[in-house]
């Protein structure tokens, strides 16, 4: 077989390597299937708030499933925490657990399970899964109080602890989990599912080495990383050297409604790209901060989008990427800063990088989206169901920005969240004391107009059916609108209306708030930015969208210069012509 001449000294032929690589991807996918199917919490089996991957003995990620990109981006960092901390104490049959945001993690809810894999008595690889536990204790059900001021209010920390030592269950840790979380059954159920996923990876790895020899598998790891690195370096080298900057605002932190500045300078020098977040605000009092590991993971998402969006990801791709930021910023928070809503920080960091690079890689980019996870947490005691404690955590989907050849996507998961799903209404009503009154496109507040318009966000309204339901919610991008591209207009913002008894409040962040039976929350996510001059959008298309109820006739006129006759159907050609060619907007 022909060898790739640019890569040195491989003994294994390229076909065998490709087969092994395919098997590694299948192992990562199988880990995900096992975790999802054996899990006990809707946020895992329905929303898919988890990810699984497979790393080599150095901790470098070689295969991942489709999942949360902030998790997959943190895999190598997490595995390296375990490698560093336990070094020569790692043994076959060991399994570790960690969730410390200040050392490799994201927030306490995201619990990593790491299994070192030994082949012929030698450390050979690591399997890792990270999943979002519904509750890890702390101040509020769901462990995400929007008004947290210290990490201690956000639950329990596992700073890299051993769960199984040479196959022996460490009961003390399980007891600690049970004693510290609100729904132990669910937490232990999900822990079991995570354990299953790393065990299946070990089993498959043994089969793989048995069939092809461990040298061939190890070579495949190395080849995968090296060839990805090479493509990645070439892609960066093809971009013009220079410094590209972007600025943005964080709209409130849950404690204050102030706006906080963030910025990035992306330096491209030859084959390397450095993302420098110096100049972003200091860590905030509220929980929208993220830590360095989450920052690096969030930058990886955009870096991969630039260099090669579709080839399977691994650590090799990221070798030409550097992230710089001083300690103690909103992106590099230090203990005891709260980080519960860290994904607001990572969404912001990803989008800064995206915005900075949009001008030099427009063919890989879109206009801005209503980029926030818009997470709502509801919980309490369900008296109708044997007084079961319940917690529902739900990210909302948002409108995405338009691109140069088509409209933006409607209601799609925000950048840090990758391949996650919304809750099925039928499933949600069956599991939680909540009734969904509406789930529709947000045509009320619209999208950024453009030759190609932004995608619509959604309106989702819940009525709570249980007294003393505890709400906490925190939506970003509630003031600063999603940016337009190439003369496209800005999109719209995220917020929610809270109807408590007779009172209605519009908010974007709610600290722990009590709701009673019949109270409602109407969650509104924004539309994406437009691309291109709205006056260039075909008038017939605008008229169709008026008929279909995406736009009002007034919006068609004001935003697109298209005049619809009183019958609501026909275009007034003369008047449209006059508006579109006449006065500047």
């Amino acid at each position: 077989m022909r060898q790739d001449p640019t890569i040195r000294d491989f003994q294994t032929d390229s076909v065998t390597r490709e087969i092994i690589r395919g098997k590694l991807l299948a192992v990562a996918d199988e880990m995900g299937v096992v975790l999802k199917r054996s899990s006990m919490s809707p946020v895992i089996y329905e929303v898919l708030d988890f990810a699984c991957g497979f790393c080599d003995a150095n901790g470098d990620l070689v295969a991942q499933m489709n999942g949360i990109t902030v998790f997959t981006g943190a895999f190598s960092i997490q595995v390296n925490v375990i490698r560093r901390k336990f070094a020569d104490q790692l043994r076959p049959g060991d399994i570790y657990m960690l969730n410390n945001p200040f050392d490799g993690g994201t927030h306490y809810n995201d619990v990593g399970i790491v299994k070192p894999i030994f082949v012929d008595g030698e450390l050979f690889a690591f399997a890792i899964s990270i999943s979002h536990w519904t509750d890890v204790g702390g101040k509020a059900p769901g462990s995400l109080p929007a008004d947290a001021t210290e990490i201690y209010q956000e639950g329990i920390c596992f700073p890299g602890v051993v769960l199984f030592k040479e196959g022996v269950r460490q009961d003390a840790i399980f007891d600690m989990v049970e004693a510290n979380v609100r729904i132990p059954k669910m937490a232990l159920g999900d822990l079991n599912a995570s354990l299953a996923s790393v065990r299946i990876a070990d089993k498959r790895c043994q089969e793989l080495c048995g069939k092809y020899g461990k040298d061939a598998v190890a070579e495949t790891f190395r080849h995968t990383l090296e060839s990805s690195e090479r493509v990645s370096r070439a892609a960066v080298a093809a971009l013009p050297d220079g410094v590209y900057e972007a600025k943005d605002w964080i709209d409130g932190d849950g404690i204050s409604e102030e706006r906080f500045p963030t910025r990035v300078a992306v330096r491209i020098e030859g084959e390397e790209m450095t993302f420098d977040f110096t100049g972003s605000c200091a860590q905030l009092a509220g929980p929208v901060n993220c830590t360095r590991s989450a920052l690096v993971a969030s930058v990886k998402t955009v870096f991969k989008a630039i260099v090669d969006p579709q080839t399977p990801s691994n650590e090799g791709w990221f070798r030409p990427m550097k992230v710089v930021a001083p300690e103690g910023t909103v992106f590099t928070a230090e203990r005891p800063a709260p980080v519960g809503w860290y994904y607001e920080g990572t969404a912001q960091a990803s989008e800064l990088a995206w915005k900075a690079l949009a001008s030099i890689a427009p063919e890989r980019m879109s206009a801005g989206s209503a980029n926030s996870l818009c997470v709502t947490v509801l919980g309490g005691i369900d008296r109708a169901r044997e007084n079961e404690p319940w917690v529902m955590i739900e990210p909302s989907m948002v409108g995405w920005g338009a691109i140069d050849e088509r409209d933006g996507n409607c209601v799609t998961s925000a950048i840090p969240n990758g391949d996650t799903f919304n809750y099925s209404v039928e499933l949600l009503e069956a599991k939680f004391p909540v009734r969904v009154r509406e789930y529709a496109l947000n045509t009320e507040y619209g999208v950024g107009a453009g030759r190609h318009r932004g995608g619509y966000g959604s309106i989702r309204e819940y009525e709570v059916l249980a007294d003393d339901t505890v709400l906490s919610a925190s939506y970003g991008r509630s003031v600063e609108r999603p940016w337009g591209m190439a003369d496209g207009e800005e999109g719209s913002c995220n917020f929610f209306d809270l109807h408590l008894d007779q009172d209605t409040q519009r908010k974007s962040r709610a600290p722990t708030t009590l709701m009673q039976r019949g109270d409602r929350i109407r969650m509104v996510t924004g539309g994406g930015g437009g691309h291109g001059d709205p006056f260039e959008r075909p008038a017939a298309l605008v008229a169709d969208e008026v008929r279909a109820g995406y736009l009002t006739a007034a919006q068609a006129r004001d935003d697109y210069g298209v005049v619809i006759r009183a019958d609501g159907r026909e275009i007034d050609q003369a008047e449209t012509e006059r508006l579109r060619t006449g006065v500047a907007r």
């Binding site: 490709e18 054996s38 980019m365 989907m397 039928e426 529709a440």
Partner: protein, 689 residues
């Protein structure tokens, strides 16, 4: 008396007839007639010379449904939902499988917002009525449907999977008020929860229903008009058949009928050859489809998603479908240059009409078939049994455009097209094998369709399979598979109850109900008296708190609670590495598959009469083997090859509906049944003939 199978493909209509008494097979193939598909069916019946009274059983499959959907040529379809939820299709699940692509494109809904209507009504998750059905809203929807000239209407109300009362009421009313509109209510097509998935399934059913209904009615009428009055069966995507009546109301279940039949055929072919692990590749005129079969059973799943890929979620269809991957690459695929000047082949296809340039029916675009003719692979006199004469001059003329673009000869252009289409097919094959963690070296490649035998040897070599199997009548393989297909129905009933509240008695009662339902289903068949039904029964169980369940086979008459639970714990441990003995277990769904026993056509050993290598050999010809160079190849007539003949490549085997290519350094063996078995390494394989 015998059994007849007909299969309409994008390009050809195929027929296989099995004479029950003699075990003789008859075949025919003709061009598909897109104007009126039934014409092609009768063309094949006529050319096989079958008398109407000889046909005791008629099974039919085709691409009507999938073509209407992939070409977006279905009916003008509206969707009626519970008030507040009309955007369910456009919102979908909001997921983004193309993780790092900021320009990812979400699937477009099959119903535009203009045609999405709402009606006041509401149930809760237990099926209790919260708000009555608002008849005024229904009337408004009727008016809108008339105004917009809607042809099909899907109805999706929340929680109808638990209690279909409002959906059924609305559907009845709408059918009365809109007699010309095809109405599908979601509970009629799937009883699974999750409103988006059910909506997607229902809408696709409505989208194709007017087309399928018209087509089956025409076919029934035409069959009756010609004196064919035997039971009529439609091939379904689940690998079984059903009555025409049922198919007309549930047309989306026909979506993968051809591939499902092919998978059945491939499983049987693998079994006959002692190869339980099979990669099946079917290459037709428009598409190539592939599937992996383990333990001689095609995988059937309800997780089918139309137009799914690793980076695209696709459209969910919650109906049982064989697990296949399909790409737009076939004999009719057109070669073209993209904006960057790169050579591409497909997905656009010349189809049957006008067809490839060499058919001489007005096609001028260069296709894969034209390239094969130029390269010498196809014999212009032997195509479709010699009934379609291929015109090499027209093929070369069409190929000129590609030669000019590449700055090469016409011959080199043909090779470039073959190389490009092979690469596309290899990618699809890798998707079902390597990327799912299978090692192709453990599998045999079974090829079918008009083009499978022509591409099989090259693809099998590149994939590294154990051997390549060209079954009998590869060009009619789906029809052949249909003959061996049995009427089947998959029934299930969801009943969430904790295991400690379930008795063995109850389990038996549930299965008795399902059995009765299956028997009612088969009563509707205008069928042979007293079909013997075979049942497969299982229960889905899970640990309390889980969403997903594990399926455990249960024999109802011998059901013991302890045994069911023990089987569940063990199955859970096998699949997920752990068991939770202290966690309560929940019964979720009772499943019953009922299959009507139909004897499989028994393959006979090749008749030795008139067969020998000498008699089979035809004049050699020069053929371009792409990566393996240009060679003078021996040519044989398959119908004269004797059993156990062994010949080394390069060579070509011709039969009326297919051309098998064997590359240099490959060895061909004809087995006892007449299957062609191709393996690598002619030089190592003992003494040459």
């Amino acid at each position: 008396m015998g059994r007849l199978a007909t299969d309409i493909g994008g390009t050809f209509t195929d027929l296989v007839y099995f004479e029950e008494a003699s075990g003789e097979l008859k075949t025919a193939k003709s061009l598909t007639t897109p104007g009126d598909l039934t014409e092609g069916v009768f063309d094949t019946i006529a050319s096989a010379g079958l008398a109407p009274e000889a046909i005791a059983f008629f099974v039919h499959g085709g691409t009507t449904v999938i073509n209407a959907i992939t070409e977006r040529k279905g009916a003008r379809t509206a969707l009626l939902t519970t008030a507040g939820f009309r955007d369910v299709l456009e919102i979908a699940r909001g997921n983004r499988p193309d993780l790092y692509n900021l320009r990812f494109e979400k699937e477009r809904p099959f119903v535009p917002r203009l045609l999405r209507f709402e009606v006041g009504e509401r149930l809760d998750a237990l099926g209790n009525v919260l708000l009555p059905l608002e008849m005024r809203d229904l009337d408004a929807a009727v008016a809108r449907c008339e105004e917009e000239q809607v042809e099909a209407l899907a109805v999706l109300f929340l929680h109808s999977y638990v209690n279909p009362v409002h959906e059924a009421q609305a559907a009845a009313y709408l059918r009365e008020k809109l007699p010309r509109v095809a109405v599908t209510a979601s509970h009629e097509i799937t009883r699974e929860w999750r409103e988006y998935e059910r909506a997607s399934t229902t809408v696709l059913n409505a989208y194709v229903q007017p087309i399928v209904e018209r087509y089956f009615e025409r076919l029934e009428g035409a069959l009756a008009g010609r004196g064919i009055d035997c039971p009529l069966f439609a091939m379904q995507s689940n690998g079984g058949t059903t009555s025409f009546g049922w198919a007309k109301a549930h047309p989306v279940t026909l979506i993968e009928s051809g591939p499902a039949a092919g998978c059945n055929g491939a499983a049987i072919a693998g079994e006959v050859c002692g190869e339980p692990s099979v990669i099946y590749l079917d290459i037709g005129g428009t598409t190539a489809k592939c599937s992996t079969i383990e333990d001689a059973r095609p995988r059937v799943t309800t997780e089918y998603r139309l137009e799914y890929s690793r980076t695209q979620f696709g459209y969910p269809l919650r109906i049982p479908v064989v697990d296949i991957v399909e790409i737009g690459a076939g004999g009719g695929s057109i070669a073209w240059f993209d904006q960057a000047g790169l050579l591409k082949v497909g997905p656009a296809s010349a189809g049957a009409d006008p067809g490839p340039a060499c058919y001489g029916r007005g096609g001028t675009e260069p296709t894969v078939t034209d390239a094969k003719l130029v390269a010498g692979v196809l014999n212009p006199e032997n195509f479709a049994g010699g009934r379609v004469k291929l015109d090499a001059g027209r093929a070369r003329a069409a190929m000129q455009k590609i030669a000019d673009g590449l700055g090469t000869s016409i011959e080199a252009a043909a090779v470039a097209i073959m190389r490009t289409v092979n690469a596309n097919m290899i990618n699809a094959l890798k998707l079902v094998s390597i990327q799912r963690g299978h090692d192709p070296r453990d599998f045999a490649l079974v090829v079918g369709g008009g083009g499978g035998a022509m591409h099989g040897a090259a693809l099998g070599r590149e994939l590294g399979v154990k051997e390549i199997i060209v079954p009998l009548y590869p060009g009619l393989f789906s029809a052949w598979g249909m003959l061996a297909t049995e009427p089947r129905c998959d029934l299930m009933q969801t009943a969430l109850v904790r295991a400690d509240e379930v008795s063995a008695r109850e389990v038996r009662d549930r299965f008795d109900e399902l059995t009765a339902e299956a028997e009612r289903y088969f009563e509707d068949f205008q069928s042979n008296d007293g079909i013997a039904l075979r049942f497969e029964t299982s229960v889905d169980l899970r640990y309390l708190g889980q969403e997903h369940s594990v399926t455990v086979p249960v024999a109802p008459e011998a059901a013991e609670m302890d045994q069911i639970l023990a089987d569940f714990h063990a199955a859970h441990q096998r699949q997920y590495t752990f068991r939770l003995d202290d966690t309560p277990v929940e019964f979720v769904t009772y499943r019953l598959t009922a299959v009507a026993n139909v004897a499989r056509p028994r393959l006979r050993a090749l008749n030795g009469q008139g067969r020998s290598l000498e008699r089979a050999e035809k004049p050699p010809r020069d053929i371009d083997f792409v990566d393996d160079g240009r060679h003078t190849a021996r040519v044989f007539d398959r119908n004269r090859l004797p059993a156990e003949a062994v010949i080394d490549g390069p060579l070509v085997i011709e039969e009326p509906t297919a051309t098998t290519v064997v590359h240099p350094d490959q060895r061909l063996r004809v087995d006892a049944q007449g299957f062609l078995r191709i393996t690598e390494g002619a030089e190592r394989g003992g003494a040459p003939e």
